[in-house]
């Protein structure tokens, strides 16, 4: 069954309700062999809920999810044999050593005794913990722990890997190393579904699903999202007290969206070259003497802000 479909994960009209609250509202998408799919969205958007349903930890209220060709709600155990899962919470045993943790999870996953030494060596190498096999996990620094957790999650060679905000609380250097590992796995054909709220990390994904309030807002490659999701061209305006110009700019002709990005305003217009002179004049008229602007290529964050968080204050988007 798994091989007859090009998709490793097929999600079709998935709904999850907690009482009156709808956490997921009709989500559909697919993930191919070896694809890295990133979930981007503000906290509480439903990313974790979706991953937990796909791992069989939660039951969907409606809709269907096939993982490795198997209906998760129908046979969660069969699904769990084929997936690896790593959550934002560090979840190995601090009072067990590196190798004891790996041996335990390997044993639970049914890694055979014959294969175990090779898999343990692989995981230890991957985490960069060679020579520290007997160290208690509680004594390891964050980056090592996180790579070890990844090692534990792939001991049984899963075809699909779920990562729920795997790099939260890890330093940038370790994050880069972690993403190198993820790409290596993807090249071996492992499908990876990863949620994150780091914009730069989302750029590492093959495709991105933007989720907000339980709905799939956009789906595409990072480039596609950046180029097409905005529906216009982007201008960056700078100047003293530029924030005061948000309201008049938003009312100016041709302007579709205005958002604060650090010290600058990003203004979405229909045609950048056409509108820039009028907007600069408007700045001057609003008492911003040193106003200046230029056309920029949109970043993923621009798309994110435009698609997901337009109604939220800018501070909630920056992460």
């Amino acid at each position: 069954m798994a091989d007859s479909s090009p998709m490793q994960i097929v999600v079709d009209g998935l709904v999850k309700r907690f009482g009156a609250f709808t956490a997921l509202d009709g989500i559909s998408f697919g993930v191919a062999h070896g694809e890295i799919m990133g979930f981007l969205g503000p906290n509480g958007a439903g990313k974790s809920t979706l991953i937990r349903i796909l791992c069989g930890l939660l039951r969907p209220s409606a809709g269907r999810a096939l993982v490795a060709g198997i209906d998760v709600a129908g046979d969660p155990e069969a699904v769990r044999r084929r997936i690896g899962y790593m959550s934002q919470k560090f979840s190995l045993y601090g009072d067990l050593s590196v190798v004891e943790n790996l041996r335990f999870f390997g044993g639970i996953y049914g890694v055979s005794e014959a294969e175990m030494p090779e898999r343990l060596r692989f995981a230890v190498d991957m985490a960069g913990l060679t020579g520290r096999e007997d160290a208690l996990v509680a004594t390891l620094a964050g980056g090592w722990k996180q790579r070890l957790a990844l090692g534990a999650a792939i001991l049984h060679r899963p075809a699909i890997l779920f990562l729920d905000e795997p790099t939260s609380g890890v330093d940038p250097g370790s994050r880069r190393r972690f993403w190198n590992l993820i790409h290596a796995l993807s090249e071996e054909g492992v499908s990876i579904l990863v949620s994150t709220h780091y914009m730069d990390e989302a750029e590492y994904c093959h495709r991105i699903a933007l989720i907000n309030r339980g709905r799939l807002v956009a789906l595409g490659t990072p480039l596609e999202l950046k180029q097409h999701s905005l529906g216009g061209e982007l201008l960056a305006l700078e100047g003293e007290r530029i924030g005061e110009a948000i309201a008049p700019l938003a009312r100016a002709p041709g302007v579709r969206d205005v958002a604060m990005f650090g010290n600058a305003l990003h203004v979405l217009v229909d045609q950048a070259a056409l509108r820039l002179p009028a907007l600069l004049a408007l700045l001057a008229g609003s008492g911003i003497a040193d106003g200046r602007g230029r056309r920029i290529d949109p970043s993923l964050e621009d798309s994110f802000v435009h698609l997901v968080a337009a109604k939220l204050p800018p501070t909630e988007v920056a992460s």
């Binding site: 155990e77 044999r81 899962y85 560090f90 190995l92 045993y93 009072d95 044993g107 779920f162």
Partner: protein, 377 residues
């Protein structure tokens, strides 16, 4: 399936081996509590602080006071000069009992009449007060009887009525000296096992939930039932070990005779442990943090203890409470352990308790497994 359970068991014992404080918590507190209960938990009353007021000042009144003082039940802490001092001594808790011999006490006795003796008791601790009063009655009764016989002899039965009395020939079975330690020690074994094992089980699972390892385990192919078995079985063995240790202390340190069959006790203990593990598991499904588990344990274990018949007779409880005791596993285990210890009876007598315990245990366990599976959602 067995492979996964064995992996969990191995992990659990590895963690236990590494956790020094857990090993300490397993062994030392039960022994200390056993010793405390063995020595301190007793209904017997000795050395009741007593204040005396002798307003008669006769040979007879002094003899009566002496028989109180020499009884070991009462300890003379003060001799009062008037009633106010008696009252003051009881009010200030200096004395728990006041004995007042009124003027004319001896005169009445010599005439062969009943003589009043006033006893004032601090009833704050109603249990001690009742028992002390009983002793006071015994001592004064014996004194009166001896005096009457003596008087009858001296006066050629002219005075001092010949006494007709029914004498009780008391035989206390199973605990001939009514040693309350014999009653308490077996009970303590059950109570300690309940408290320790419920705590250990609940905490072990809630800790995994709190740390996040529970979620990590649940995305593996392990089934909830396998997880629960792997997680509770270690505490089953620990429970058996604990019962053995505490029983050994009871038998060899406190010399409480064990009349029954150890295998019967072992079987009863296994049945009891199923309920105990299920209760720990149930608590763990209700709690997200170890702090909540701590509060819940207290809330559940204390009533179980009070309603078990450990020290308060179930028959005297209000009917509604008596109904609740029927679902208290400790109630049945206390009957089993006391009966095997002191009466030496076997399964032929104890099967109703054992059957109930088994039903309760498997029922609770079933509910716990259902609740556990649901609590994941």
């Amino acid at each position: 399936m067995f492979q996964r359970i064995i992996q969990l068991l191995l992990k659990e014992f590895l963690q236990l081996r590494r956790d020094r404080s857990a090993r300490f918590r397993l062994l030392i507190p039960p022994i200390v509590q056993m010793l405390l209960f063995g020595y301190a938990a007793t209904f017997e009353v000795f050395n009741v602080a007593t204040v005396m007021l002798d307003q008669d000042h006769t040979q007879e009144s002094r003899a009566l006071v002496d028989s109180f003082v020499h009884s070991s039940r009462f300890e003379l802490v003060a001799v009062a000069d008037d009633r106010r001092q008696v009252q003051a001594a009881v009010e200030s808790s200096k004395a728990q009992l006041g004995i007042v011999v009124p003027p004319g006490f001896a005169e009445l006795l010599r005439k062969g009449q009943s003589a009043p003796l006033q006893v004032l008791v601090d009833g704050t601790n109603s249990n001690t007060a009742l028992i002390a009063l009983g002793y006071a009655g015994q001592i004064s009764g014996a004194f009166g009887q001896t005096y009457a016989q003596d008087l009858a002899q001296r006066t050629g039965r002219a005075l001092g009525r010949p006494l007709v009395s029914v004498k009780l020939e008391e035989r206390y079975w199973y605990n001939p000296n009514l040693n309350s330690r014999w009653f308490f020690v077996p009970g303590v074994i059950g109570t300690l096992t309940l408290i320790t094992i419920v705590n250990l089980t609940a905490f072990a699972i809630v800790r995994e939930r709190e740390v996040g390892t529970l979620e990590q385990i649940l995305v593996t192919p392990i089934r909830p039932v396998e997880f629960i078995i792997g997680k509770t079985l270690p505490f089953f063995f620990i429970g058996l070990l604990e019962v053995s240790i505490v029983t050994a202390v009871g038998m060899w340190w406190f010399r409480v005779p064990f009349e029954g069959n150890l295998l019967v006790l072992l079987f009863g203990t296994c049945l009891f442990l199923i309920s105990v593990l299920a209760i720990g598991l149930l608590i763990s499904t209700l709690c997200k943090t170890q702090q909540q588990a701590f509060a819940s344990n207290f809330f559940i274990l204390n009533p179980m203890f009070i309603l078990s018949g450990f020290s308060f007779p179930i028959a005297t409880m209000p009917q509604a409470l008596q109904w609740i005791t029927y679902v208290d596993p400790l109630r049945y285990f206390l009957i089993i352990i006391r009966a095997t210890y002191l009466k030496g009876v076997g399964i032929d007598i104890l099967w109703p308790q054992m059957a109930t315990l088994a039903a309760l245990g498997f029922g609770l366990f079933g509910v716990a497994i259902l609740r556990f599976s649901k609590s994941l959602d």
